[in-house]
């Protein structure tokens, strides 16, 4: 055990003396009091801002126009989903499941490789909290000043500062809610309607819900959400393994930690590189101590890396005491090559298949779709002329914006007669038009009890572009 000098023995001031005072009040975060994390500049801080800025798309996206309408519009009342020039109807919603699968696996793969990247840089909870505390700092000052203000008795000045802060928070909450609704309604019209009281009641309810949710979750619950509410935080915890690269404290290098001795020289230092300044803790937005190792509260935002590097610079020790590293690396094992990790392969295969499914779906959105329901009671009837008749309900889905006259034909047997399809069916735009047809085949000409037949639907859009669809069904005759 290294013998530490007592305070009396300390003589000359060290360059980090004032830092010790900053973290004096620290204790394990149990949600009892507000975390006032210190903000410092650094590489990871800049990186976090950059990554968070993808959320600007959320706020600005609804105002992008395309072909004279909102570029991305989820038009729920009309059951149409416009994504740039593509229009997706509910029938094509299977692509959404692929999209969700893609993002779920992306989350998994990112977490397996580099820890809770989502939590640290992208999650709306941590990003919004980050913005909220940034506003808090601009108005109320640094963490010690904020703690002081929290404890100060109510005064006009306190009321003014807190009032502005809460107003700004609510404003951000409102913009968050409004932007959400703007993806589902024409944004400029929504602005007008919203304030003259003509918007949909669902719009008001959503905005109110989002405003309140944002205000409470990012303003008050903050990191407690990650600790106790968020299931993904826990799910991601089990996706890590020893090869995952996460912000890690280099215990070998750092321990035994010890305060920088006043007047001591680097040569006769008997402690590890950690100066026990608690800066990594002071900057942590969730209030954890990274030196205790990976833990549920760590959102891997890497702000402690910035803090530690700064201190290491000050005390003249090499950077990287806290750095992105895997547990294997810390234990001195050679890093496992990524191509040798089966989970990377499995994740990649799922990612690529989901993505190709979406690409296939979006590029091959058929303008016409045909479904065929074979009548079940009766499966077939004998006609007077000795032929067997089957009845089918055809449902023609016209995904184009114009009405299309659809001609129905059938094939699959050379003596087949199609009845009830003499006139083209007027398929209504953006909807399903049903029609009933009959197929007759002479009983003697049937080779099997069941035989496949194919229905074809052909038409022309107003622009002259031909559209077609086909669907296989079955023709059923008497048992042979």
């Amino acid at each position: 055990m290294v013998k530490l000098k007592t305070n009396d023995e300390v003589k000359a001031p060290s360059p980090v003396d004032d830092l010790y005072e900053e973290a004096d009040g620290w204790h394990v975060n149990t949600g009892g009091d507000t975390i006032h994390a210190k903000r410092i500049r650094g590489r990871w801080r800049t990186f976090k801002w950059l990554m968070s800025s993808v959320w600007l798309v959320y706020f600005l996206g609804p105002y992008v126009r395309w072909d004279g309408r909102q570029a991305v519009l989820f038009d729920i009342p009309n059951r149409q989903y416009h994504i740039f020039s593509a229009t997706v109807l509910p029938q094509d919603f299977w692509m959404l499941s692929l999209l969700l699968l893609f993002f779920a696996i992306l989350l998994a793969v990112m977490t397996a490789l580099a820890g809770r990247v989502w939590c640290g840089y992208f999650c709306f909870q941590t990003v919004w909290t980050d913005v909220f505390t940034w506003i808090e700092e601009k108005l109320e000052g640094l963490p010690p000043a904020r703690r002081k203000l929290d404890q100060a008795p109510l005064s006009l000045e306190k009321l003014r500062i807190k009032g502005i802060k809460h107003l700004l928070w609510i404003l951000i909450g409102f913009l968050t809610g409004f932007s959400f609704v703007a993806w589902f309604a024409d944004a400029p019209t929504l602005w007008r309607d919203f304030f003259v009281g003509e918007a949909n009641s669902a719009a008001y309810a959503s905005v109110a819900l989002f405003t309140a949710g944002t205000y409470i979750l990012a303003g008050f619950l903050r990191e407690q959400t990650c600790f106790w509410l968020c299931p993904y935080a826990r799910i991601q915890g089990v996706m890590l393994d020893k090869t995952t690269i996460i912000p890690t404290y280099d215990e070998q290098r750092g321990e035994p930690r010890g305060r920088v001795q006043r007047g001591g020289t680097e040569a006769d230092r008997q402690t590890g590189d950690c100066v026990d300044c608690h800066q990594c803790v002071a900057v942590c937005p969730t209030g954890v101590d990274i030196r205790r190792g990976q833990q549920e509260g760590c959102i891997t935002c890497a702000l402690c890396i910035d803090a530690c590097d700064q201190v290491m610079d000050k005390v003249g020790r090499p950077r990287g005491l806290i750095r992105y590293a895997s547990l294997d690396e810390m234990e001195g094992k050679p890093p496992k090559r990524m191509v040798l990790r089966p989970r990377v392969w499995v994740y990649s295969v799922i990612l690529v298949s989901a993505l190709s499914g979406i690409v296939y779906g979006l590029t091959s959105l058929a303008p016409l779709e045909l479904t065929v329901l074979h009548e079940r009671a009766p499966l077939f009837v004998l006609q007077s002329d000795g032929s067997i008749q089957n009845k089918y309900t055809l449902k023609i889905l016209n995904k184009t914006p114009d009405p299309v006259a659809v001609t129905i034909s059938a094939s699959g047997h050379d003596q087949l007669t199609l009845v009830g399809a003499d006139k083209p069916v007027e398929a209504e735009p953006g909807g399903v038009t049903p029609t009933i047809v009959f197929v007759r085949i002479p009983e003697g000409a049937l080779e099997a009890e069941q035989q496949p037949i194919t229905f074809h639907a052909q038409g022309q859009r107003a622009s002259g572009v031909p559209v077609e669809a086909e669907r296989e069904s079955v023709f059923i005759g008497p048992r042979r």
Binding site: P378, V381, L382, D385, G386, Q389, V419, G420, E426, I436
Partner: protein, 298 residues
């Protein structure tokens, strides 16, 4: 129970047994209590507004005058309002006019499906597939004609088949010959009936109902209508009485159809649905469209 409280200042009620077993009084958290009182207030408010307390036969009515039956009636009204547009249109149209309009036909089929299920499917099957003794509606063989006018007549006034029991009119050998002839006719589409059978058919009075051509048609009118008495077409493979074939034919010829004095006689009765207000004119019109479309109509 102790006379004095040996454990002061710990929220006990002063009730102590066996020296140290005491009843504590730790109230639930404030928010919980507030919730309790709020829920009691809710009960008061609710019971003022809505039917709540069972008093005698009827519960208290509540000042809002709300009732489930009213809500149900409102729901029905809403559905009726949506249907009214179509119903009004259909009211002024004939079945043929409805069939000429694809949109109205779709509405009528959807709406008449329930009527068919309630009134027709018990005998004719859910999709008009027929049942032993009850004709198939999904084919093109119509005993009484397949035009909308004839179908409407059938539904409204009902039908009663009739065929004499030939057990006392024909000899067993003649019945045999005729039954075999009916099977031959059925299997060959009316082309392969034996000479013997034809001669019996024409001389024993069968043509009076089944027609000269044995197709069940007495007179063909120019407009596609036919005059029939509901006798079966013997030229096709469709059997009026299942399972069909020699035995079936023999039974029908021997005992007839709807003969009150012959217990083995076939039954062929369709009730009249316009009688006693069973179905309204509008409902019958919808059913005509539905039945006409079951097999593609005629």
């Amino acid at each position: 129970m102790a006379e004095h409280n040996p454990f002061p200042g710990e929220n006990n009620t002063g009730h102590v047994w066996d020296d140290n077993l005491r009843e504590l009084d730790n109230p639930p958290p404030r928010w919980w209590m507030l919730g309790l009182w709020a829920s009691l207030l809710f009960v008061v408010g609710y019971s003022l507004l809505y039917p709540t307390w069972p008093v005698g036969q009827e519960p208290t009515q509540g000042v809002l005058g709300w009732s489930q039956m009213q809500e149900y009636a409102r729901g029905v009204e809403q559905v009726e309002a949506k249907r009214a547009k179509f119903e009004d249109q259909i009211r002024g149209m004939t079945a043929n006019e409805i069939l000429a309009d694809p949109g109205l036909t779709q509405y009528t089929l959807a709406s008449a499906k329930v009527l068919f299920g309630d009134n027709c499917s018990a005998c004719h099957g859910s999709g008009g597939q027929g049942n032993p003794g009850y004709p198939v509606l999904a084919d093109d063989d119509w005993l009484y004609g397949g035009t909308t006018t004839k179908i409407a007549e059938t539904i409204a006034k009902g039908r009663q088949g009739a065929m004499t029991a030939h057990q006392t009119i024909l000899t067993p050998a003649e019945i045999d010959t005729l039954a075999e002839w009916v099977v031959q006719m059925s299997e060959t589409g009316g082309k392969g009936g034996s000479e013997e059978g034809w001669s019996l058919f024409k001389t024993k009075g069968c043509t009076a109902c089944h027609g000269q051509a044995a197709n069940g048609v007495l007179v063909e009118l120019g407009n596609g209508d036919i005059v029939t008495v509901g006798a079966a077409n013997l030229n096709d493979g469709i059997w009026r009485f299942k399972p069909g074939g020699y035995e079936s034919a023999k039974h029908t010829i021997t005992y007839g159809v709807n003969q009150a004095t012959v217990p083995e006689s076939r039954n062929a009765v369709m009730p009249a649905f316009a009688e006693a207000g069973k179905l309204s004119e509008q409902e019958i019109k919808k059913l005509v469209v539905y039945v006409h479309e079951l097999g593609g109509g005629k």
